[in-house]
């Protein structure tokens, strides 16, 4: 196939080559006219190459000479590769890169990149936007513009100006997005910082997660510490570490708190499980609320059914259809957590209770109890019991005031 050859250590002025270009080591390519060199076939370089203009080729290969500054690729213009660009070297491209498959063994520093696939063994620094289907970076990734990606895998840290990564994101270090990010499935071992308005499908973080404003995430799993400066909306939330939400928290499905959840305003969810501690202004649950730890509210906890396990504590009123306080329940088996063992004592303490059916089990203590049907078991304690339909008392119980039967119960606070 016709082509052109450039010998090691020389420089060549080229314009358009029909066929392949073969070059030795330490070559310099310059444009003869028009500021661009075009190779219709494959461009192969044995080692270090400096291209002083825009460069376009079918495919490009740079064979490394081993470690050292002598093996680098420098392109002082735009690089367009219609097929695969494969560099056994580090590369610096002053202009844009457009290719089908860009594979750089070392570090890559360039202007904006548009490539179906980008892989860099070392660090990737992009002075502009990055558009690709998959990006694999062994070291750190820093993009000074927005990103539009399907999948991202980074061995070190990743930093970019927002955009969208709709597939899988796996970053072993930290992720920082300076502008709003739409993300798919995100897994990060280090910390994660996102600006207001960011939203995603699934976020699993071992370290710290910071949302700098209102945020939405379909599934959020926090093993470390997370904070939201605003409101958080999600379908499922699992807190194994600590989650602080300065505004409200709305969870359309399941909220599980194994660690600590601190919410500045209202918590709303469909199904609540607390093995750790939940603090909020009020908690409204569409379905059932199971508490095997501590819930602290000022305005109250409301659910269709509320079960407060033995040894748990609820501060603030409880409002529910069916309320059971102090029953010994193995929440670990119930929620599929074989490792869980109750770390709380046997005394169960709650505030005022409002319910159609209220049961205070052994060693349970409530303030005022309002219910249609109220049952106290042995050793249960309440300040006052007011009921409309029935009251069942054991042989041993303690009421600070005699029970009162009434036609109508007072309105619950929630």
């Amino acid at each position: 196939m016709p082509g052109y050859e450039v010998r090691t250590g020389t420089s060549a002025r080229l314009s358009r080559i029909e066929g392949d270009l073969k070059a030795g080591r330490k070559v310099t390519i310059k444009a003869e006219s028009g500021g661009k060199v075009v190779v219709t076939g494959e461009a192969t370089f044995e080692g270090q190459v400096t291209i002083d203009c825009d460069f376009e080729c079918g495919t490009m290969k740079v064979e490394g000479l081993g470690f050292g500054p002598g093996g680098n690729v420098t392109i002082r213009g735009n690089l367009t590769v219609h097929g695969r660009a494969d560099f056994d070297a580090s590369a610096t491209v002053d202009g844009t890169i457009s290719s089908e498959d860009l594979d750089v063994g070392g570090h890559l520093e360039s202007g904006p990149i548009d490539s179906k696939r980008v892989r860099a063994g070392g660090h990737l620094t992009v002075k502009g936007g990055l558009k690709a289907e998959t990006v694999d970076v062994g070291g750190h990734m820093k993009v000074l513009g927005g990103v539009s990606l399907q999948d991202l895998r980074v061995g070190g840290h990743a930093e970019f100006e927002g955009g969208s990564i709709l597939g899988e994101i796996r970053v072993r270090g930290h992720i920082t997005s300076k502008k709003k990010l739409d993300f798919g499935q995100l897994e990060v071992f280090g910390s994660f910082s996102l600006p207001a308005g960011s939203s995603g499908q699934r976020l699993s973080a071992l370290g710290t997660v910071r949302f700098e404003g209102d945020a939405a995430c379909k599934e959020l799993e926090v093993s470390g510490a997370a904070s939201v400066k605003g409101n958080l909306g999600a379908e499922r939330v699992e807190v194994k570490g600590k989650l602080d939400v300065s505004g409200g928290l709305r969870v359309s499905d399941r909220l599980r708190v194994y660690g600590t959840l601190d919410v500045g305003r209202v918590v709303e969810c469909e199904n609540l499980g607390v093995l750790g501690r939940l603090v909020g202004e009020s908690v409204r649950v569409g379905g059932s609320a199971d508490v095997a730890g501590e819930v602290r509210t000022t305005a109250g906890l409301k659910a269709k059914s509320v079960q407060v396990g033995r040894g748990s504590r609820v501060t603030g009123p409880i409002v529910g259809g069916e309320v059971e306080v102090g029953r010994e329940t193995d929440f670990g088996s119930m929620w599929g957590l074989p490792w869980w063992r109750s770390a709380v004592g046997s005394m169960t303490t709650v505030g005022d209770v409002y319910g159609q059916s209220v049961r205070l089990c052994q060693r349970s203590s409530a303030k005022r109890v309002y219910g249609d049907m109220v049952e106290l078991q042995d050793g249960a304690t309440a300040q006052q019991v007011t009921y409309t339909k029935g009251l069942k008392l054991p042989s041993k119980y303690s009421l600070h005031e005699p029970p009162v039967r009434t036609e109508r119960l007072p309105e619950p606070p929630l």
């Binding site: 490394g64 081993g66 470690f67 056994d88 070392g106 570090h107 063994g121 061995g155 710290t208």
Partner: protein, 98 residues
């Protein structure tokens, strides 16, 4: 590309080697790996041999060249290392508050 501020520890180097190797499921040659982790080939060979002897990377050679690839044990090491590093970074941040 500027110089790093602090010298990498040996364990960081091993983790970086493994990280780059895992990004090449088809195998990676020592030259390319040296660019990825920024370590000269002669020094890198000793480190990779150590990883191979521990079963954290594997070496396979064809008629022309030798490639290195990741192993399940190597992936397990990487996951554990970065999880641990995540925890330690968080603990380190917490210690500034005291």
């Amino acid at each position: 590309m500027g110089r790093r501020n602090s010298k990498r520890s040996k364990i960081e180097l091993y983790a970086q080697i493994l990280e780059v190797v895992t990004h090449y499921p088809e195998g990676i040659r020592i030259t390319r790996l040296s660019y990825g982790v920024r370590v000269p080939v002669d020094r890198l060979k000793l480190l990779v041999e150590k990883l191979c002897s521990l079963g954290l990377t594997r070496r396979y050679a064809d008629e022309e060249e030798t490639h290195y690839g990741s192993t399940p044990k190597g992936l397990e090491f990487l996951d554990t290392y970065f999880r641990m590093k995540g925890f330690l970074d968080e603990l380190d941040k917490g210690s500034h508050l005291q």
